[in-house]
C-alpha cells in the first residue's frame, strides 16, 4: 500500500509521524514522508502525484480542527474521494466528531500502539466505504 505521512501547518514535532512512518514501512507498506510544515495544498498534490491510497496526518499544535478538514475537502475537490485519511497527535475527544464528519476514518492519540495503526490500514484497505468521500460514515474502532 502506498501511504503518505504528512505534517501540516506550523508544527515542528515530527517524532510521532516518523515512528508511524517507520512502523508502516515495517508492516510492508511504501511510505512517503513529506517533511515538516506543509500546506494543505502541498499535501494533497503529493497524495495525487504519488497515487497514495492512504494519508496519515499528524498535528500537535492544536490546529487540527482547521487543517485536517481543509485537507479532506481539497482531496474531494481533486477527485481523490477514495483516499483513506487518518490522523494522530494531541486531539481532544470533543474535536473528533467534526474530523470524522470531514471524512477521516481514525484518530490516534498518545499511547496508540503501532500494531493498532497497521490493523486499521489492513481493515480500511479491505473496505470500499473507507475513502474520504465515502458515504456511510464508517469509523474505525480499536
Amino acid at each position: 500500500m502506498r501511504i503518505v505521512v504528512a505534517k501540516p501547518g506550523l508544527d515542528g514535532h515530527d517524532r510521532g509521524a516518523k515512528v508511524v512512518a517507520r512502523a508502516l514501512r515495517d508492516a510492508g507498506h511504501e511510505v512517503i514522508y513529506t517533511g515538516l510544515r506543509r500546506t494543505p495544498a502541498q499535501i494533497v498534490a503529493t497524495v495525487r502525484d504519488e497515487d497514495a491510497r492512504f494519508l496519515g496526518l499528524s498535528s500537535l499544535s492544536g490546529a487540527h480542527g482547521h487543517l485536517f478538514p481543509t485537507i479532506c475537502q481539497l482531496l474531494k475537490d481533486e477527485g481523490l474521494d477514495d483516499v483513506v485519511v487518518f490522523g494522530g497527535g494531541i486531539i481532544p475527544d470533543a474535536d473528533r466528531p467534526a474530523l470524522h464528519d470531514a471524512g477521516m476514518r481514525a484518530i490516534f492519540g498518545p499511547g496508540t500502539s503501532t500494531e493498532a495503526i497497521s490493523a486499521f490500514v489492513a481493515e480500511a484497505s479491505a473496505r470500499d466505504d473507507a475513502g474520504v468521500g465515502a458515504e456511510g460514515g464508517w469509523i474505525w474502532e480499536a
Binding site: D26, V31, I32, Y33, D49, D51, G79
Partner: protein
C-alpha cells in the same frame, strides 16, 4: 481494468490530469500494463538523465535546482526518485521529497512531477519497470525525466543505466577514486559532478577522479566542481547537462547493463520462478540448467 477504462485514463493523463497520470504509473509499476501495450512499439520523444552517487553527496539538493531551472523555462520535467525497499518487510520509507522545494513553488508546480519509486522485493525487475515508467511519462507529455538513484549496489547502477545519460555525483573527501571505480559507475558516467566544492577536499577529489578517468582511455567524462548549497559552479553544471552528449565508452557500458537488465527481468518474471528457486535450493537443479530451462521458454 478493461481496455476502455485504460484508454480513457491514458487520454486524461495526456491531457494533463495528474491524478490519471499517477494512477497510470501505478498500473505500470504493479505490472498490470506495460509501456508497449500502452504506446505500441513507437519510441516516445524524450530524454532521460540519471543522477547517481553515494548517499549524502547532495543529489536531491542538486536535482531541486535542476527541476527549478527547467520549470522556470516553461519546460515540464518529471523526477523518478528511487529508494530501496526493505528486504525484510518489503516496505519502504521514501523521503526524497523532503529536500525538494521546487515542487512546492506554486508558480512551478504545474511543470514538475515527482514520483517516489521503491525497488520492491524483486530488485532484479525494478530497472525494467523504471524503463517502462520513463516511456509512459514521455508518452504523456513529459519530455525530460530525471532518475535519482543511490549509486551503490548492482540494482541501483542498473537503474541508472535505464537513462540516456548518466551523471555521477561525488563529494569531497570521499576517500580515493577507487571507491567510485569499484561501483562500476565511472565507466558509465557521461559527466561527473563533484559537489560541496565549498568544503575542503573537493578539488583534490576532483583531481583524483580526472587522473583515474584519464587512465580508462580516450573521451573521459568532464569533471566539474560545484556546490548545490552556495551555487558555486551550478550554472555551468546545469548548462553542461542541457547539452550533454553520451560518451562512446559509456554507451557500451550502458548497453551491457541494459542487456543484463532484460535478462534478469525475464528471469524473475518466469511463471515458475519460485519453483525453480526451491529446486535449486534443495539441490535438484543446477542454476546453469535452470537458465537453460528459462531461456528455452520451458
Amino acid at each position: 481494468m478493461d481496455a476502455g477504462a485504460l484508454a480513457a485514463r491514458f487520454e486524461a493523463a495526456r491531457a494533463g490530469s495528474r491524478r490519471d497520470l499517477a494512477r497510470l504509473l501505478t498500473d505500470v509499476e504493479d505490472g498490470r500494463i506495460s509501456s508497449t501495450e500502452l504506446l505500441g512499439t513507437q519510441r516516445a520523444e524524450g530524454r532521460s538523465i540519471a543522477i547517481t552517487g553515494p548517499p549524502g553527496v547532495g543529489k536531491s539538493c542538486f536535482i531541486d535546482h535542476l527541476l527549478r531551472a527547467h520549470a522556470e523555462r516553461d519546460d515540464p520535467v518529471a523526477l523518478l526518485a528511487v529508494d530501496p525497499s526493505s528486504a525484510l518487510s518489503g516496505g519502504a520509507l521514501l523521503g526524497d521529497r523532503i529536500r525538494l522545494t521546487s515542487p512546492d513553488d506554486e508558480a512551478l508546480a504545474q511543470r514538475i512531477y515527482v514520483r517516489s519509486v521503491a525497488t520492491r522485493r524483486s530488485s532484479g525487475s525494478i530497472p525494467s519497470v523504471l524503463g517502462d515508467l520513463v516511456r509512459v511519462l514521455h508518452g504523456c507529455g513529459w519530455p525530460l525525466v530525471v532518475i535519482e538513484t543511490v549509486g551503490a549496489g548492482q540494482s541501483e547502477v542498473r537503474c541508472a543505466a535505464v537513462a540516456d545519460r548518466i551523471v555521477l555525483m561525488e563529494g569531497p573527501a570521499r576517500g580515493d577514486a577507487v571507491q567510485a571505480e569499484k561501483a562500476g559507475l565511472l565507466e558509465l558516467a557521461d559527466l561527473v559532478l563533484v559537489n560541496k566544492a565549498d568544503l575542503d577536499g573537493a578539488e583534490r577529489h576532483a583531481a583524483e577522479l580526472r587522473d583515474s578517468l584519464a587512465l580508462d582511455g580516450p573521451d573521459p567524462p568532464e569533471v566539474l566542481l560545484m556546490s548545490a548549497q552556495t551555487g558555486l559552479g551550478l550554472p555551468e553544471a546545469l548548462r553542461s547537462l542541457r547539452t550533454l552528449e553520451a560518451r562512446p565508452g559509456s554507451e557500451r557500458a550502458r548497453a551491457r547493463e541494459r542487456l543484463a537488465n532484460a535478462a534478469e527481468a525475464r528471469l524473475v518474471r518466469h511463471e515458475d520462478y519460485e519453483g525453480i528457486l526451491a529446486r535449486i535450493a534443495n539441490g535438484n537443479l543446477a542454476p546453469e540448467e535452470a537458465v537453460e530451462v528459462i531461456w528455452r521458454g520451458g
